[in-house]
């Protein structure tokens, strides 16, 4: 597989230049994105994905990003 071929496996690029970036990985936000992206999270992956999102929230806190209230605790 060449890099160019693998790069086709993408969705829309992130928006650049946003003034306020809110890192929201609450259950509601993640579920909304999953619906929009047509991702079905397998039942046996739900705990693992939630764990990963929590870990990413902690990194976002370390990065000093704006998080919705209560997230990342």
């Amino acid at each position: 597989m060449h890099r160019t071929e693998a790069n086709k496996d993408t969705h829309s690029a992130p928006k650049a230049g946003e003034d306020v970036f809110v890192f929201d990985v609450s259950q509601e936000a993640a579920a909304g994105r999953a619906r929009r992206l047509k991702i079905k999270v397998p039942e046996d992956a739900k705990d693992g994905v939630a764990f990963q999102l929590q870990a990413l929230s902690k990194h976002a806190q370390t990065a000093g990003w704006t998080l919705p209230d209560g997230e990342g605790a």
């Binding site: 890192f23 397998p42 994905v49 990963q52 999102l53 990065a63 000093g64």
Partner: protein
């Protein structure tokens, strides 16, 4: 240099002079794969026909009076994310085992084989290079040649283990967040993460564009340097590291690190007369790298996750799914967050030439060990093995992992030497200096050191 493989330059020189046949070096590597791979599971595929065919061509060239190149007859292997003509590039993924075969070798394989090196196989890795353990559901867990109950590290674990077990004199891996430096530290070999963008990645399965690099694993700084020079297509000027200005990193880079590892760092710092220095933005840079990796990994594999998430290893699947569910803008924000660290690093390099820190916070954990202690807290072992390497990747600077000779530690441990972009020559000089001082060197893995010595000559 060892009972099995001489220095790469000496091995190639003997083939170029017709004193040793390339067929015998290829046969030795293949015999060692057969003998040792069942124990350590470093190789995913053995390319015996290709290797023997290429060896025959090299021997024929020598017989005609031609020079096959500076790596003549030197066997090597590559992480299973490099394209190899005629076979699928799996990137360690079950879902790609039946992918269409690559129509050409990756650019760097072409450069190495063009210099006479012989490709003998592909090497195990974490699925899609997303991990620091080389625990792979389909291809198995690569074992550390110094203790088979312990991790080889990842994601280029097969590459590190194959060199540590002396199956091949050198191997290639890829380093996005530490995937060359981490396994080389745990397995006790030299490795290079080059300046981002300095080596071509054509034919290498991508992970994170802003972080991806590929580098060599070898058993001496001279071997690593020669392989790097061939890949780069240029030879470095010889330089001395005796007067190098070194800084040993404090703060984030010492917090929670196992005392034996800190002793190894201090051994190197003392040898180089290093002054204590600090990078206050390191924790932020590491988190930025973590977030960038997750977001871009999820984005890259989105179509596959939509189609069949169950075709991934469970751990990879969960990480990639989480990454795909991150808010848009995460990648841009992560790169912006890392910039102050890059600026701080640039400023620090006005004062010192190289920086010293651990490559991993601990020596190789046991495979069945889920957690390690960092700052008094039990944390996920596999996620934290890269905490020392991640901050530098996002700044694009080069780093070497150097195995340190320690009387106290029974498992190998690597120290990371970091320089400004484009300063690989200085890093190799520092590594050579540390070898000359007896501070750095590859420890023997006794179980793999004996069979079968290369006796055959032309």
């Amino acid at each position: 240099m060892t009972a099995i493989w001489p220095f790469i330059a000496d091995l190639a020189a003997s083939v170029r002079r017709g004193e040793r046949r390339a067929a015998s070096t290829a046969a030795l590597a293949l015999a060692r794969i057969e003998k040792h791979n069942p124990k350590i599971k470093a190789f995913t595929r053995v390319l015996a026909d290709r290797a023997l065919g290429q060896a025959e061509q090299i021997d024929a060239a020598v017989a005609r009076g031609e020079d096959p190149g500076p790596l003549a007859g030197v066997p090597f292997a590559v992480k299973d994310l490099f394209d190899v003509e005629g076979i699928p590039t799996t990137a360690g993924a079950r879902r790609l085992i039946d992918a269409p075969p690559a129509d050409a070798d990756a650019a760097l394989i072409r450069r190495l084989t063009g210099a006479g090196a012989i490709l003998v196989g592909t090497l195990n890795m974490d699925e899609f290079a997303y991990g620091f353990s080389t625990v792979n559901t389909h291809f198995g867990t690569t074992r550390n040649p110094h203790d088979e109950a312990r991790l080889a590290g990842g994601s280029s674990g097969g590459s590190a283990a194959a060199v540590a077990a002396e199956i091949v004199p050198f191997a290639l891996g890829s380093d996005t967040n530490g995937s060359v430096r981490v396994p080389s530290s745990l397995c006790g070999v030299f490795s290079v993460r080059p300046t981002h963008g300095s080596l071509p990645l054509d034919g290498v399965f991508p992970f994170v564009d802003e972080l991806d690099t590929v580098g060599a694993f070898a058993r001496s700084s001279a071997d690593a340097r020669l392989v790097h020079e061939v890949m780069l297509g240029q030879s470095f000027q010889m330089q001395s590291a005796i007067n190098v200005k070194a800084g040993v990193l404090q703060g984030f880079f010492r917090e929670g690190i196992e005392p034996l590892v800190l002793e190894a760092v201090d051994q190197v710092a003392d040898a180089l007369g290093a002054m204590p220095v600090e990078l206050t933005q390191a924790a932020k840079a590491r988190s930025a790298a973590f977030l960038l990796t997750s977001a871009q990994g999820g984005r890259r594999h989105l179509a596959s996750l939509q189609e069949d998430a169950e075709s991934f290893d469970d751990g990879t699947r969960d990480r990639l799914l989480a990454g795909a569910l991150l808010p848009e803008g995460t990648e841009t924000a992560a790169l912006k967050t890392a910039q102050p660290f890059t600026d701080e690093l640039k400023a620090l390099f006005q004062t010192v030439n190289v920086l010293i820190t651990a490559a991993t916070p601990v020596p190789a954990p046991r495979i069945d060990e889920e957690t390690i202690m960092i700052n008094g807290a039990a944390v996920n072992a596999r996620a934290h093995l890269g905490m020392m390497t991640q901050p530098f990747g996002i700044s694009g600077v080069p780093a070497l992992s150097v195995p340190v000779r320690s009387n106290e530690c029974t498992m190998p441990i690597g120290v990371q030497i970091v320089a400004q972009r484009g300063q690989e020559a200085l890093l190799f000089a520092v590594a050579k200096h540390l070898e000359d001082l007896g501070v750095a060197g590859v420890p023997s893995a006794p179980e793999f050191a004996a069979f079968p010595p290369m006796k055959e000559t032309a």
